[in-house]
């Protein structure tokens, strides 16, 4: 059984997971800036203020006491440095006080593993899309490797940037999705470079078009363009690796149109499509708890002094000892 903390950005979450994969608690508090983007200093203040409350709430939800917890995991990267640091401090304090083992977990692999657990798939091409990342990952040679990724900003970031300029409140993704339902097609730049993507030019163009085009039309075309690009790279990965499953995970996975596109692509290729349930799509504690548990059960051990944070931590730097 185990607790974890997650906070590499605007979310402070705690999850408690049993080693058979049963999720006993998954609570979180999300810091929402009044205007603009995340201010790291404010996010840290939010996390430290909410930490005690969220930990207690998760224990209540799981009907457990702090002493029942056997392993502490936390997200050690990648992410915003101040946010990672506060999570690490809280996790190390708990581990020392309870005298329990600790695991530093890669945030991105957390999204992959919780997706596999809750959506029920084994060896998928993974599309991980969020505010900070847009990655196509495949498991080969003991590691999750990057098949393709964004060369500039992440898809979630792109949608948020546009939403902000269009006067839509944070989080912008769901609002764009609603508006898009009433829009029709206008042409935007489509930028796929091999297996890599670029979103910044599209956003710039979409913002420019705010002066001349209807907001609904831009929302529609922005989604169609960006999601087609993502789906194209995922399809290329499926064709290249011959994998039979696709998993969509991360905050942007909640978007119904993106789900639909990937599901059509999978159907056309004869692959199976899985999507992480909405509850586990955004950043959450359960994903870190589960991933730490997988690592621990497969024999990995860490000392407190090994649990350094790494804000540039890549997925392919992690030995995935729990998979063959």
């Amino acid at each position: 059984m185990k607790v974890p903390h997650l906070n590499s950005g605007n979310t402070f979450g705690v999850g408690i997971v049993r080693d058979n994969g049963e999720i006993l608690a998954n609570t979180r508090s999300i810091y929402t800036p009044e205007k603009g983007g995340i201010v790291p200093r404010e996010a840290v203040a939010h996390h430290s203020e909410k930490a005690k409350e969220i930990v207690e709430k998760s224990l209540q939800e799981a009907k457990l006491k702090l002493a029942d917890i056997d392993l502490i995991s936390f997200a050690a990267g990648p992410g915003l440095l101040p946010c990672l640091r506060i999570g690490a401090v809280i996790a190390r304090t708990l581990a020392l006080r309870l005298d329990k083992p600790i695991m530093a977990v890669n945030h991105m692999i957390g999204h992959v593993e919780i997706g596999k657990l809750t959506a029920g798939c084994k060896d998928a091409v993974v599309l991980y899309v969020s505010g900070g990342n847009s990655l196509v990952l495949t498991f080969t040679g003991g590691r999750y490797r990057e098949f393709g990724s964004t060369q500039d900003i992440a898809i979630g970031n792109a949608l948020d940037m546009f939403a902000r300029e269009a006067g839509l409140k944070h989080p912008g993704g769901p609002k764009i999705e609603q508006l898009a339902k009433k829009g029709s097609w206008i042409s935007l730049p489509y930028v796929v470079k091999g297996c890599d993507l670029s979103f910044s030019g599209i956003v710039t163009d979409a913002i420019k078009k705010l002066k001349t085009e209807k907001l609904e039309d831009i929302c529609f075309s922005l989604q169609e363009t960006c999601f087609s690009m993502l789906t194209e790279v995922v399809e290329r990965a499926v064709a290249h690796t011959d994998k039979e499953e696709v998993l969509l995970t991360g905050g942007v996975a909640a978007n119904k149109r993106l789900q639909e596109m990937l599901s059509i692509m999978c159907k056309e290729r004869g692959a199976k499509f899985h999507v992480v349930p909405a509850e586990y799509s955004g950043d959450n504690g359960a994903m870190i708890a589960w991933t730490g548990l997988l690592a621990y059960k497969s024999g990995q051990r860490q000392k407190i002094e090994d649990t350094e944070i790494n804000r540039f931590w890549r997925t392919d730097q992690v030995d995935v000892t729990w998979l063959k």
Partner: protein, 208 residues
């Protein structure tokens, strides 16, 4: 009678018998994608077909070995079927002398492409075929015309990345010879190689 020889992510390749030329020709057809709205789908397939044909024709004009194109209409390109040995296998199976010679030829050809502002976009050894002692370049589907040093640098980065995953045992020797060939045919080589160095150091989540 259609004989499908490859189903890629975005196109299928098949052979047909062309009466005008009385021989088998290869057809590359970009297929419809149900996940894209028709407006975007048609735009992408048409523009990529057109662009690929133009890139191949231009590469041929400047003396790089590529398939001859017979027609490019709608979503289909008809071209020569290059039957030979893929460098993906050959580079690992052959001896040191031929390996060096092939690498040099790759470098020279890429140098010529870049000198003429042609960026291939997918320089892997699966897209290089040896026939009659010449290295043919195929699949310009991800290519573009570009004057930018940056785009040429990325082209080389893709090549180096592909070599390091498929031919890691001989990587250093192969790369050395590619660069030798590249410098032979491209006077701007040093600037582009400096750019390559920068590109390699700026990947996401890489320690600097």
């Amino acid at each position: 009678m259609v004989e499908i020889i490859k189903r890629g992510a975005e196109a299928i390749l098949y052979l047909i018998f062309d009466k005008t030329f009385s021989k088998k020709v290869l057809v590359k057809e970009r297929i419809k994608k149900g996940y894209r709205i028709p407006e975007l789908d048609e735009e992408i397939r048409k523009s990529r077909t057109r662009r690929e044909a133009r890139l191949i024709n231009e590469a041929r004009r400047v003396g790089v070995a590529v398939p001859r194109i017979f027609s490019a209409v709608g979503y289909k390109i008809e071209m020569d079927f290059i039957k030979g040995q893929r460098l993906k296998e050959l580079l690992n199976e052959t001896n040191d002398v031929q390996r060096a010679q092939l690498a040099n030829q790759i470098g020279e050809a890429v140098g010529v492409l870049h000198k003429n502002e042609i960026v291939h976009g997918d320089l892997t050894t699966s897209n290089m075929i040896l026939k009659d002692n010449k290295v043919y370049f195929i699949d310009f589907g991800l290519g573009q015309f570009s004057k930018r040093v940056e785009d040429m640098g990325i082209d080389l980065a893709v090549l180096k990345q592909a070599l390091s995953s498929t031919h890691f045992m001989y990587l250093n020797k192969i790369w050395e010879n590619i660069i030798k060939g590249y410098k032979n045919t491209n006077t701007n080589a040093n600037t582009i190689l400096e750019c390559l160095d920068k590109i390699e150091r700026r990947g996401r989540y890489i320690k600097r």
